[in-house]
């Protein structure tokens, strides 16, 4: 536990140090602020969805930026030799890093709470619905971060890792539009795999355990793949 904590702390420290994370933060808040402002000023109404609607799309771009460094940089710097010759197991390593990336998600979502408060000053806000939506976005973003960790475990180049994670995320994104083109059973099947589809209920203020489970399985799957990919490096 102490080792996971220590890895987690180191990773957060490096987030604060890396210019890439500031670019990602700036991008996130700039675009979110712009989309919120235009939606709010255009509609002249108080609607919670103005806050969380753009977020899932923003995370599509921000996730690769925030995760590509995590393992790739260790390989490039040769610090993976320190990690893998220390008495830690690969699971602890992945866990420490993943938790750090989730903390960054929490930070982004926490700062974005200023928008609901702006809305609140102009009218009444349904806080229950908003909390459900935030929980949904948090789960979605956490799932995406797991994809990023996995992509980063594949290459010593941050660029390759970033592009890979963007490609995987985009593929998951497109499942939604594929399902739109289908009917009946196949449509439902495709929807089950779409991370966007599972967000819908949260945005209506409904917290359904099956959706929560979907995201959890998603996270475990990709963290498991990361562990596998790291173990495999030893057998090169």
């Amino acid at each position: 536990m102490r080792k996971i904590w220590s890895l987690f702390r180191k990773e957060l420290q490096l987030y604060l140090f890396s210019p890439t994370s500031y670019v990602a933060f700036a991008f996130f808040f700039l675009v979110l602020g712009y989309l919120f402002s235009t939606a709010f000023l255009g509609a002249q109404r108080v609607e919670e969805s103005m806050v969380y609607n753009p977020m899932s799309l923003l995370f599509l771009f921000v996730t690769p930026m925030l995760t590509m460094r995590l393992l790739s940089e260790e390989f490039r710097q040769g610090t993976d030799e320190l990690l893998f010759t220390s008495p830690i197991n690969v699971f602890q390593l992945v866990a420490g890093k993943y938790l750090a990336s989730v903390t960054v998600v929490v930070f982004l979502l926490a700062v974005s709470l200023i928008y609901p408060f702006i809305l609140f000053s102009y009218g009444s806000v349904d806080w229950g619905k908003l909390s459900a939506a935030y929980l949904g976005v948090f789960l979605l973003a956490s799932a995406m971060m797991a994809v990023g960790v996995f992509a980063s475990s594949l290459s010593a180049s941050q660029m390759v890792a970033g592009i890979t994670s963007f490609a995987i995320l985009l593929a998951f994104w497109l499942i939604e539009s594929v399902s739109d083109a289908l009917y009946g059973g196949s449509r439902e099947l495709f929807q089950k795999f779409s991370p966007i589809f599972h967000l819908n209920d949260f945005e209506q203020g409904i917290v359904d355990v099956s959706h929560v489970l979907y995201y959890l399985v998603f996270v475990l799957l990709f963290l498991g793949l990361s562990v596998q990919s790291l173990e495999k490096r030893r057998w090169r």
């Binding site: 710097q77 610090t79 220390s86 008495p87 830690i88």
Partner: protein
């Protein structure tokens, strides 16, 4: 302390490590020598558990690396070829991080960190960013990291590369000091280094272990007749002819003749015979005074070349 048995690492299509076996006793400083690409780093990576062997096993203190990896790993201190440092961290933060990874109890960390900083001569730079350290200090920090958890076995992969002569001497001194308490396996391609620090040397070539002995003994064993270098006053051809007439002299090469009446030669003498006296009297009779005579032992460098170049034999005859 360390036992390597039939260790192999095979890569498809290119050479790897083939059947390496050796053992290192507690308190030994062993040099691991070989040309670039011979497999030193790969072998060390398998010993430290960074890579898994295709075949064979590594035991540290009797424990199998693959089975008791986390316990075994706490007994090993490893300095890879490039020190594994995080440029954005400060020296102190970095060592604290390493201490956590290597299971150094929290209460002891402060004291241990101060101790290794002192021993590696980094004291006073705790708050500096690693990125701003000079190459020599990075190397020292790499060593500090390797000894922080007081391992029994130290594996150092080319610890002196890229340092200036003064730093090299300091690092060697430090390694020798460490050798008093730890078992050290040290890889290098700098031969005098091995002669200076190590009591035993392993030579590896193209993935195979070709020698395992004490440095001086190795040199003596491989010596096929010793060499004398001479400077003689006299006509080069006459001197050469005279020397060749002495029984036991295998070959005479003129290396230089500074003037018509002076010559420098290399005399190869058959196995283990000392011809110095006979050469002296023979040349004295001919009124060819010896200005200089020196016996040359095979340096480790020659041994190394002999063992690692397949054309070693024909080269000597050329």
């Amino acid at each position: 302390m360390l036992e390597v048995r039939n260790l192999s690492k095979r890569y498809p299509g290119r050479g790897g490590i083939e059947n390496i076996r050796f053992s290192v006793d507690r308190g030994e400083i062993v040099g691991f020598l070989g040309p670039n690409g011979a497999g030193k780093t790969t072998t060390m990576r398998m010993i430290t558990g960074y890579l898994s062997p295709t075949e064979g096993e590594v035991r540290v203190d009797g424990q199998l690396m693959t089975e008791h990896s986390s316990k075994t790993k706490t007994q090993i201190g490893y300095l890879p070829e490039s020190p594994p440092l995080y440029p954005e961290m400060t020296v102190e933060d970095y060592l604290r991080f390493v201490a956590d990874l290597r299971e150094v109890p929290v209460r002891e960390q402060k004291h241990r960190i101060a101790d290794v900083l002192e021993r590696t001569g980094i004291t006073g730079r705790e708050r500096q960013l690693i990125r701003r350290l000079s190459k020599g200090y990075k190397q020292r920090l790499g060593l500090a990291q390797a000894i922080l958890h007081r391992p029994d076995l130290l594996i150092l992969d080319e610890p002196t590369t890229g340092l200036d002569p003064k730093q090299i001497t300091e690092i060697r001194e430090l390694i020798r000091e460490l050798g008093e308490k730890h078992t050290v396996l040290l890889s290098t391609h700098i031969l005098p280094e091995v002669e200076m620090i190590c009591k035993r040397v392993l030579i590896i070539d193209r993935g195979r272990l070709v020698e395992d002995d004490r440095p001086e003994r190795l040199a003596r064993r491989l010596e096929q007749g010793s060499t004398l270098s001479l400077e003689v006053k006299g006509k080069p051809e006459a001197v050469q002819e005279k020397l060749l007439s002495i029984s036991g002299v295998k070959r005479v090469d003129v290396t230089d003749s500074p003037s018509k009446e002076r010559v420098k030669l290399l005399v190869t003498v058959q196995n283990e015979t000392d011809l110095r006296e006979r050469i002296f009297y023979t040349l004295a009779e001919e009124k060819m005074p010896i200005l200089e005579m020196q016996r040359r032992d095979l340096s480790l460098e020659d041994v190394f070349l002999k063992l690692t170049t397949s054309e070693g034999g024909s080269q000597a005859d050329a």
